[in-house]
């Protein structure tokens, strides 16, 4: 079984960048999240459509330099727990 596909429903959020953090109002839940990098970048990369972690890393690599690719799973799990990202 491969990695799951992740989806971010970007139309549902209103985001306001402040001091290097991003405030997110998530309409379907009515919840406010305060997210730190790399969470906003991951959400933005998912704007281009659903992706599995490998595809997501490809999209991020187009914009950023980074290390510690394994941590992408932990980050996605956090976003999933908050409801900002779901599995397809």
């Amino acid at each position: 079984m491969g990695d799951p596909i992740y989806i971010a429903d970007s139309r549902d959020v209103r985001s306001v960048p402040l001091d290097g953090l991003t405030l997110i109002y998530h309409a379907p839940s009515g919840m406010t999240h305060i997210v730190a990098p790399p969470a906003p970048e991951i959400l933005e990369a998912l704007d281009a459509g659903p992706a599995d972690p490998a595809e997501l890393l490809r999209r991020l690599r187009a914009r950023f330099e980074f290390e510690g690719e394994d941590a992408i799973h932990a980050r996605l799990e956090e976003l999933e727990a908050s409801g900002l990202v779901r599995r397809g």
Binding site: A8, S10, R11, V13, R14, S15, V16, P17, T22, I24, M31, T32, H33, I34, V35, A36, P37, P38, A39, P40, E41, L43, E44, D47, A48, L60, A62, R63, F64, E65, F66, E67, G68, E69, D70, A71, I72, A74, R75, E78, L79, A81, S82, L84
Partner: protein, 135 residues
């Protein structure tokens, strides 16, 4: 995110700016914090509330040092308090470690941890929630 206000001018968000370094494995800290409902510090001034330790529904359970409820008589665990703690006492206990009057000081941390673990619906939760301070 399409709603981002500062990137409203076209697709600039995705123009490669290769020098930006993104830390994916950001220490242990979570990258998402959710705003929770706060009865706020209101209470300090709004309320005169009480927290039973433990809740009456726990039926005589003892309180382990980490605040969990355990069977009566468990070694190292503290017995139920004879009276509920008042809001002010709880505040002093949680913030400064001041043991409330008549409470065994060696057990006070167990009681403090029990209170920290309270959740909505449990006896004393609204009182606890109302005592929490912003950091």
């Amino acid at each position: 995110m399409s709603g981002t206000e500062e990137e409203a001018n076209g697709k600039s968000g995705f123009v490669p700016s290769r020098r930006t370094v993104l830390v994916l494995g950001a220490a242990a800290a979570s990258t998402v914090i959710t705003v929770r409902p706060a009865l706020a510090q209101t209470a300090g001034s709004v309320l005169n509330c009480e927290i039973p330790v433990p809740s009456p529904s726990a039926g005589g359970s003892y309180v382990a040092p980490d605040g969990r409820l355990v069977a009566p008589g468990t070694p190292g665990a503290a017995p139920p308090l004879a009276r509920p703690l008042r809001g002010e006492e709880v505040k002093n206990l949680l913030r400064s470690g001041v043991t409330p009057a008549g409470v065994d000081p060696t057990a006070s941390q167990a009681y403090a941890n029990y209170i920290r673990r309270l959740q909505a619906g449990m006896s004393g939760f609204t009182c606890y929630a109302s005592l929490q301070m912003p950091r």
